[in-house]
């Protein structure tokens, strides 16, 4: 499932996305995760309205689920996305943390 080519291709885009700020417009706490995410569960996932108007969806890290609210200010950070598969490639991606 995890293609090294795809991961490599997407790396360039990641750099541009780090350190951007926005506010949470909706969120959930995922308790029954998909494959590769069980170590992190339960984890919050949010829709974030970035300054500039674009919306993104990302996992919220470095927080307790109870402290997330409408309008919570967050910043994008780079983190490991999911557990590496048998090939051992570590997929990185964008998550958000409160500021």
């Amino acid at each position: 499932m995890q293609s090294p080519v795809k991961i490599w291709r997407n790396q360039e885009k990641l750099v541009e996305l780090i350190g951007k700020t926005g506010t949470i417009v909706s969120w959930t706490l995922v308790r029954v995760p998909t494959s590769g995410f069980s170590e992190a569960a339960p984890y919050p996932v949010a829709l974030v309205r970035m300054h500039g108007g674009k919306m993104i969806m990302a996992q919220v890290v470095d927080t307790s689920p109870g402290s997330i609210a409408f309008g919570t200010h967050v910043v994008t950070v780079i983190r490991r996305v999911r557990k590496p598969d048998e090939d051992g490639i570590i997929p990185y991606g964008i998550k958000v943390r409160p500021v």
Binding site: V25, S26, W27, T28, L29, V30, R31, V32, P33, T34, S35, G36, F37, S38, A40, Y43, V45, A46, L47, M55, I56, M57, A58, Q59, P65, F70, V81, R82, P91, G93, I94, K95
Partner: protein
């Protein structure tokens, strides 16, 4: 020579649904055979009448490793006609009906079978959740989102905008379990209470287990035809409209989080095509994959004003035996009847056909003559609306 569009009328002439549920002792081949043979018997047609096979399915490749489903089921059913799999996530069934409808309307084929089928419980829930996320966007998969999670975010936006409560959502599940209790093929044939929904385990806050449609196995089949005169069966229901709309795969790219725009657009197209208004519809099967989804559907299909659907559901205004204008999800919906994803859209057509024929037994909606079926793929990236008339 100028090409003349044919625009044949399209009729549903045979329908069947298998039992929905955890069917560990039944194979996909057996499910398909059961559904298609019963639908053909209901229609009074024989294999030589069938000119095409449309298979609605989402997960056969990702879960079962089997693709090429058109030929696969053509072989199993011994039809050996033009056959293809139609995939549009949880709207695969509705899309297959749409493709079949177009094939008849255009005059290409005169009689075809649509099979909707899914086998989900052979696999680990975690694998099923991962496979279902194939319907979402790459960004959503990387965020670790699940389908309950996506609808949970829609639910929270709706709660904030319109004051919708968790109890309001629970009322959808209570109603649909009440209806499913009257449906022998339903996965859940027992009533539940608001308290049971509220105390069920949390899946993706604010959604709980009993807000979610289950993982299910099942199949449904319908026979569509333009040949009213050649088939002896007198039970013809006309497909008055078949409309599809699409939207962004991911929620983050949507303009609004409190509606599914694809449902609104497909609905409007279907009403225009059929020449009916929302208030003319007597019975509807809508896509309640999660309780919030039924609330959104009632609003987006204009059965209720924006922000008012939850109140209507809670007050019993769309419940069998209590409804004044329209009954929603008499089959039990996805929540009560079960949700084998590729089968659901076809099952909805089968249910509305039974309702319009007056053969729905103890879940019959009185004097139902115009019905609507609403099938959604993903978190609203595909919506299919059919309107049927007796």
């Amino acid at each position: 020579m100028k090409h003349q569009p044919t625009n044949m009328n399209v009729y549903v002439t045979g329908v069947a649904t298998t039992k929905f549920g955890e069917l560990w002792d039944v194979s996909p081949r057996q499910l398909a055979r059961q559904a298609v043979q019963a639908a053909m018997k209901d229609a009074g047609v024989h294999p030589e009448h069938i000119k095409g096979l449309f298979v609605g399915n989402m997960l056969s490749g990702m879960l079962g490793g089997q693709e090429h489903l058109g030929a696969f089921f053509s072989e199993e059913l011994e039809l050996f006609v033009p056959a293809s799999k139609i995939e549009g996530a949880c709207a695969s069934g509705g899309l297959a009906v749409h493709a079949a409808f177009n094939s008849i309307r255009s005059g290409q084929y005169d009689t075809v079978v649509v099979l909707g089928i899914e086998k989900m419980t052979d696999h680990r829930p975690e694998d099923v959740a991962t496979a279902l996320m194939g319907a979402g966007s790459e960004e959503e998969r990387a965020a670790g989102a699940t389908f309950p999670g996506l609808y949970a975010m829609l639910a929270r936006a709706h709660m904030r905008a319109f004051g919708t409560t968790e109890e309001d959502m629970a009322a959808v599940a209570v109603k649909n379990h009440f209806h499913a209790g009257k449906n022998q093929n339903a996965q859940f044939q027992k009533e539940i209470t608001i308290e049971q929904v509220m105390h069920s385990s949390r899946i993706a806050d604010p959604l709980k287990l009993l807000d979610c449609s289950p993982i299910s196995d099942g199949a449904a089949a319908v026979v569509l035809t333009s040949q009213k005169s050649k088939i002896k069966n007198q039970k013809f229901v006309e497909v008055a409209a078949s409309a599809v709309a699409t939207d962004t795969l991911g929620l983050a790219q949507r303009k609004s989080l409190t509606e599914l725009s694809a449902t609104k657009r497909a609905g409007e197209q279907a009403y225009t095509m059929a020449g009916v208004r929302p208030k003319d519809i007597h019975v509807a099967e809508v896509h309640d994959c999660f309780t919030i989804a039924e609330i959104l559907a009632l609003e987006d299909l204009q059965f209720a004003k924006k922000g008012k659907a939850a109140e209507a559901i809670r007050n019993g205004e769309v419940t069998l035996g209590r409804a004044k204008h329209i009954v929603i999800n008499p089959s039990g919906g996805l929540k009560g009847c079960g949700h084998p994803v590729g089968a659901t859209g076809v099952k909805q057509i089968a249910e509305i056909t039974e309702q319009l024929r007056g053969t729905a037994g103890n879940r019959q909606v009185a004097r139902a003559r115009i019905g609507l079926a609403h099938n959604v793929g993903g978190s609203g990236a595909t919506a299919v609306v059919h309107i049927l008339k007796m």
